[in-house]
Symmetry: C2
Subunit: 139 residues, 2 copies
């Protein structure tokens, strides 16, 4: 079953953004800090929305000053069969910007260029044509 | 209780966008067409996500060619008391771009400029300072 997961936005100042969302009634529910690649992922949700509808903040430690455009990240959806979904999208003429080489994650874009993340529930064994398909463009 | 409602994105070609989302597993669940002001609002959701986590497509009939920036709309949250939430935001230095003059709807922005819609569950009687507060900027 396809299921909404989160909307991701890029943030320059995570503390300021978390404070902002706390004022609306969301809380940090989990966080992943990657010192090597210098980024953090921070998930926020309203009480009861944990695992149902979350906001993901992406903080690239060495970036700042986002304005309209790259401040918007993506909408993410869990799908039943990521290969079947990507095959259907390709058949409809959609570019698979980030093919599901790992059987788990893919990125595509809406007709207006909004990035959409597709996530397999678990992961499927690597499979062609996906396993050897290169990335295309950005997402 | 604060609760996630939807992420809104602007679309140039609603039929193309709906087809795109259908390929991922979402369906149109309701639609509002306004002939006078020439726009449509189309709500999509995965099965079981209706009323829980939706995507809203805004189609302004006379606009097209969105690229990064204005293609991203807003994230929307239902709140318990829109006046209390806006007061807390203002106290924290956040500009209330669209004050809740009607006791029902307000818009603010995250520190990186992502628009956030606040919606009162029902509506409160008009109340100062909100009732006479002007809009500020865009959202």
């Amino acid at each position: 079953m396809t299921k909404y997961l989160h909307t991701m936005i890029r943030v320059s100042d995570p503390a300021a953004t978390i404070r902002f969302f706390e004022l609306i009634g969301l809380k940090e529910i989990r966080r992943y800090d990657n010192e090597k690649d210098r980024f953090s992922l921070i998930f926020l949700a309203a009480l009861g929305d944990e695992g149902i509808a979350e906001v993901e903040l992406t903080h690239n430690w060495d970036e700042s000053g986002y304005t309209g455009g790259r401040n918007m990240g993506h909408l993410a959806f869990r799908v039943d069969d990521i290969y079947a979904t990507c095959a259907a999208l390709m058949a409809a003429g959609v570019t698979i910007n980030r093919p599901p080489r790992d059987g788990h994650m893919a990125f595509v874009k809406t007709p207006d260029g909004i990035s959409i993340e597709l996530l397999q529930d678990g992961s499927l064994p690597p499979q062609e044509p996906w396993a050897s398909m290169e990335n295309t463009g950005s997402w």
